[in-house]
């Protein structure tokens, strides 16, 4: 299994129960060869449970796991040949950095010379060649993390599994290591499956993100797709921030529809082939704060609403406004600070507007679990 290409993983109807509690519910997911996939979800959503099932430490209650089409559901972890970076790294404290990295080679019975060469190459890869003789306790958090990466990659694993690999690091180091991880993925060309609850990390690193909520896979797609076209209220809220606009469908035309909320008409573009809402039914739209503009005198937009600034704050790059409206409640608006059309003040009357393709229809969440 030590070809240079990555391997493809397929999860089919994976379920894990603890007593009557369902930690992971009927998840199906394809991970293509060489892809960087992130499992993203809030605490307790079942991410670790998923990863542990893939790694072989937790047995699925139902479902199968396929590696390159071969069923590996019953294979014990040591026979799966997956590299794994644990939360907290799990480096062996009684071994030096080099011995840690050599461990997977040693248990595979590799000869001394081959072992040393591979260890050196792996430590080079993560720029730790100078630290080979140190013990893990003598390394910084970021260095330990890289040892864990080197150890997980040194035996050319079929798959690299990462459980919150960066969560123990401070924000700045986390940013640096995100870049390194991404570069590493490009260099080694293997299949990576990463787990995180940090949405920013998921967006920055992944080719594809799978979002979990209460053990369900609620949506998967590229970071751009997920951010621009969230399918449910949960996804829109968890990835970035969103305003939610509730209304009743009053008009359905090809390519667009209109919802009415009180006296406000919400014009919504509908992508070709997207399911249409029926006339007279309630609908929910998600709208990103940065897609709302402040309308000048006489300026028009597909949807327009008047309101009053209830609160505002300044963030260097922009202003965050909370605008109270009659029909849509409180709307969050992100306004670029550079050449902002107004100097915000509490109580100031403003007119907001956005184009028909700024918002997206989303489904209400269904956790009647």
């Amino acid at each position: 299994m030590s070809s240079t290409a990555g391997h493809a993983l397929a999860l089919r109807g994976l379920t894990r129960r603890y007593g009557s509690f369902v930690a992971v519910r009927d998840v199906s997911l394809n991970v293509e060869s060489g892809e960087f996939v992130t499992l993203l979800g809030p605490s307790g959503s079942g991410k670790t449970t998923m990863l542990m099932m893939v790694a072989g430490f937790t047995e699925p209650s139902e479902g199968t796991i396929l590696l390159d089409g071969r069923d590996i559901t019953a294979l014990p972890p040591e026979r799966r040949d997956f590299g794994m970076v644990f939360q907290g790294y799990a480096l062996f404290p009684h071994m030096t950095v080099a011995e840690n990295v050599a461990f997977p080679l040693r248990v595979r019975g590799l000869g001394r010379a081959a072992r040393e060469e591979k260890v050196r190459a792996a430590l080079d890869l993560v720029q730790l060649d100078r630290f080979a003789d140190r013990k893990p306790a003598q390394l910084s958090g970021g260095q330990q993390q890289r040892v864990a990466l080197a150890r997980a990659l040194v035996f050319d694993p079929a798959l690299l599994l990462l459980d919150e690999p960066l969560s123990a690091l401070d924000k700045k180091l986390r940013g640096e290591l995100q870049e390194e991880l991404k570069a590493l993925h490009r260099r080694v060309g293997r299949t990576f499956i990463n787990v995180t609850h940090d949405q920013e990390e998921a967006l920055r690193l992944s080719d594809r993100v799978a979002i979990l909520d209460h053990g369900r896979l609620v949506q998967q797609g590229s970071p751009l797709e997920l951010y621009e076209r969230p399918a449910t209220r949960f996804v829109a809220d968890f990835l970035g921030r969103s305003n939610f606009l509730a209304g009743v469908v009053r008009e359905v035309r090809p390519g667009a529809m209109a919802l009415v909320a009180g006296g406000t008409r919400l014009v919504q573009a509908v992508a070709y082939g997207a399911p249409k809402l029926a006339l007279g039914t309630p609908g929910l739209l998600a709208l990103r704060p940065e897609k709302i503009s402040l309308l000048a005198e006489g300026e028009a937009a597909d949807t327009e609403v008047a309101g009053e600034i209830a609160a505002w704050s300044y963030h260097g790059t922009g202003f965050a406004l909370s605008v109270q409206t009659v029909d849509l409640g409180l709307l969050q608006v992100a306004l670029p600070a550079w050449r902002a059309p107004i100097a915000p003040a509490e109580g100031m009357a403003v007119r907001l507007g956005w184009p028909a393709d700024a918002s997206v229809p989303v489904a209400e969440d269904s956790h009647a679990a």
Binding site: F57, P77, E78, M84, G88, A90, H94, V107
Partner: protein, 277 residues
């Protein structure tokens, strides 16, 4: 400086008590060993010349080492099972291990006698099943002494090893398996090395205890297997050879201190005696 002095003054009563009740008697024993019956090292010379003394020292060492080895082996297996058990089960296991500690050593020694003697439960059981024709000599010999001592020492072996095992991060074991190690390799390359400090601590504790055993060998040895403590009692109370008794007592103390000195380089002794490092 003056404030420091004040703190030290608070320690003074305890220090005096220790000196009077503990250090002084030991020094007195040391003094007796070089003055009785006459001034000089003649008692210590016996250590080199007298076969009787040598046999006692050898028996004590042999039984001590054997007890240590067996208690460690049994204790390690027990500690391993306890460390890997579920929390609820752990509590019952621990209770089972600690229970014997609350039973008098005398009671336990006699219990072993009734189990192991010629007409005892074990011999009768074995004879009834036809496995043996004549009763086995299980007690009033070295075998009986070792059984009794191992039984006494196992809890002391379990506790430091269990403490050491509990400090091992379970994720390390999972990580090792995930990296391709079989269960056996995980044990040999990760679990065992990481639990070694506890093993060394347990070894020191059990060995030192074993050197000074008195009641268990006295009862289960039946007077034939003489260990140091019983021999000292014999010299002083029965033969009134104070010098010889004091000599071996001093040697015993020296041996214990030497063991501690050697192993203090390997393990943290504060941990051995219960203080958290």
């Amino acid at each position: 400086m003056r404030r420091d002095l004040g703190w030290w003054a608070l320690l003074l009563p305890a220090f005096l008590l220790m000196t009077v009740l503990y250090v002084a008697p030991i020094l007195q024993v040391l003094a007796i060993s070089v003055t009785e019956p006459t001034l000089g090292a003649q008692n210590y010379n016996r250590l080199l010349t007298n076969a009787g003394v040598q046999r006692v020292v050898w028996t004590t060492l042999r039984i001590g080492l054997l007890t240590t080895a067996l208690a460690l082996l049994l204790g390690y297996a027990l500690a391993y099972v306890i460390a890997l058990a579920r929390p609820a089960a752990q509590r019952w296991w621990l209770l089972g291990v600690l229970l014997p500690l609350w039973i008098s050593v005398l009671v336990r020694a006699f219990a072993w006698v009734t189990l192991l003697r010629r007409q005892g439960l074990l011999n009768q059981g074995l004879q009834a099943t036809g496995l043996i024709d004549a009763p086995l000599p299980l007690v009033w010999n070295e075998f009986g002494v070792v059984v009794g001592m191992v039984h006494y020492m196992v809890p002391y072996a379990v506790l430091p090893m269990l403490a050491s095992m509990r400090e091992i991060d379970p994720r390390l074991l999972a990580a090792a398996r995930g990296l391709g190690a079989s269960r056996g390799t995980v044990f040999g390359r990760v679990f065992l090395p990481l639990s070694l400090p506890g093993v060394v601590a347990a070894a020191v504790l059990v060995f030192i205890f074993s050197l000074g055993f008195y009641i268990t060998p006295a009862i289960l040895g039946g007077g034939k297997t003489l260990m140091a403590a019983e021999w000292i009692k014999l010299q002083i109370l029965d033969l009134v050879r104070w010098g010889m008794g004091a000599m071996l007592a001093t040697v015993l103390v020296a041996a214990i201190l030497a063991t501690l000195a050697v192993f203090s380089r390997v393990v943290d002794l504060r941990r051995l005696f219960g203080a958290r490092a």
